[in-house]
Every structure is written in C-alpha cells, then in structure tokens.
Symmetry: C2
Subunit: 164 residues, 2 copies
C-alpha cells in the first residue's frame, strides 16, 4: 500500500509518500509545495492544486492521509488555509476516493505512543521507523511523513479515520 501524507497549508504544504509492505515501511519521497506572498490567490491555489495532482499521478497512492486542521488564529487565516486544504482535497479525489484525516494528537499517539509527545520526539521516531540518516526537513514535510506513517500503522482501524 502506498500512502500520500499531506500537511495542508497555504504558504507551505508538506507531503510525504510511505510504502507499507509486509509490516515494513519505506519512505518513497517527500517535500513541500510552496506558494509565495504577493502572488494572486488564484495562482497560489492553482499551484497547490496542480502540485497535489502531480503527486497523485507520480506516486499513484492507494490512500491519502491529511493532517487535520484544528484551529487558525483568526477567520481570515482560516479562510485561506481552508482554501488550500480544499485545493488539495479536490486534487486528491482525482486519484482516489480513499481520503483519511488524523489530528495532531492521533499522529503523536500513533508514532510515539503518547498523544502529548513533542514535535522533536515525533521526528526522531519517524527517522527511526523509516531508517533515515537525518530528520526530514522542513517541519511541514516531516509532519506529512508522520501523517502517512500513522495511516500505515492504523491497519484495519483506518476506516474510523475516513474523511467526513
């Protein structure tokens, strides 16, 4: 099973692709889609949409796991981040119907065994589980990888996390 993890954001959208095979996990690829201030919104959303669409084409994931957005500092920010997440969701549905969502707490719990682990602990475990030489950078990409890994570990329980 190939899983694309996405940490949705407007300026930076992290992504990570993990393959689960016979109980083992392999990191296939990761990175960030970046959009720039002073660029019209229509171009920023379009570039996020096309970026995720390209990832769907390249990696052909079976499932896509989104990190759930919990809060935004204010409604204006929420409108923009919501739009970015919408762009990613629409692009993802062009490749699969299997969209899932995990909260930061669920990701921490799945990766480290504690819902209150800090970011560094999560990143160390991701590095260990995927036998990486270094902690993946930037943070947005590391978060997306952790989200994909969480989904891989969810196994048969994953249906509970299907996007509603």
């Amino acid at each position: 099973m190939i899983v694309l993890g996405i940490d949705p954001g407007y300026a930076l959208m992290g992504w990570g692709v993990v393959e689960a095979k016979g109980g083992a996990f392999r990191l296939v690829g990761y990175g960030c889609l970046e959009t720039f201030a002073h660029t019209p919104m229509q171009h920023r959303l379009r570039s996020l949409y096309e970026g995720v669409r390209d990832l769907m084409t390249i990696y052909q994931p079976d499932d896509v796991a989104f990190e759930e957005l919990f809060f935004a500092h204010n409604t204006t920010t929420a409108l923009m981040v919501g739009a970015a997440r919408g762009a990613a969701i629409i692009a993802a549905t062009e490749g699969t119907e299997n969209l899932y969502e995990y909260t930061p707490g669920q990701i921490k719990q799945a990766i480290t065994g504690s819902g209150r682990a800090d970011k560094k602990q999560v990143q160390q475990m991701v590095k260990l589980l995927l036998r990486m030489d270094e902690i993946p950078k930037p943070d947005d990409a590391a978060d997306a990888i952790a989200c994909a890994l969480t989904h891989c570990q969810a196994g048969v329980a994953k249906e509970e996390f299907r996007m509603k």
Copy 2:
C-alpha cells in the same frame, strides 16, 4: 462581455450569468449549486468544483466576479467556506485568468447607489435593471447576479477589483 457572478458558500453556492453589450445588460442564466450535510466533504467540494467547471464550459464567461467573504461565525465555518471558495476559484481558473472580487458594500453601492441599502432594495434594483418579472430566487442566486451586474457596471475601473 459575459460575466459569471458567484456567491461562494459550502451548502449553497449562488451563481448568475450576465451579458453586457453596448451599455445594456441581459440575464443569461442563474441558479444554485447545492451540497448536502451528511455527505463526505471530499464529495461536497468535488461537486462544487465540477459545478463551477461546468458553468465555465457552458457560458464561457470572459470574467468571473466573486462576492468577497467578510467574516464567518467561527474558524471551523471559515475553514469550510474557505474550502468551498477555493474549489470555485480553482474551477474558474480553468476557463479564465480574469477573477474579480467585490465586497457586499461595494455591490450595494454599485446596484443601488448606497453602500447601506438592504438586501430587498438590491434585489428590486437587480429585477429592474435586468427587466425580470420577479425577484430571482433563492437569495444566494440573487446575490450572485448582483455581483455579476456590479462587475458589468465597473467598466474600466474593474482592474481595481482584480482578485489578489
């Protein structure tokens, strides 16, 4: 010039198409894209995206005018409405680069001459300007028509309202 007006919403997205020709305005079509509660978000966003994409194909508008979202009751609502607006923007960019945005106050001002006119006054003026027999229903469609009409009336000043 053909203008598609859009009043972006998650459950109801109003739309209206107005043609401006030699100083006269003609209503070409209007309606609402509707999505339903208890439907997975990925399907709701996809249906809004495909709905707007279909409108772009059918009416081939030169310009698309969005009613600007000002506030949302809370950040959760803002995330959803933002996603719906994002879906509409991405679909619109498949037909044209010319996206514009008007605040409710700018629409009231353009249609009635007063930025503080109430909804009823705006709807009455829309009916008059487009020589309709009745006020268009539902409100979301009427708002989208008013937005398209505002853009038609903006003329050379419209560049100021280009989406940023």
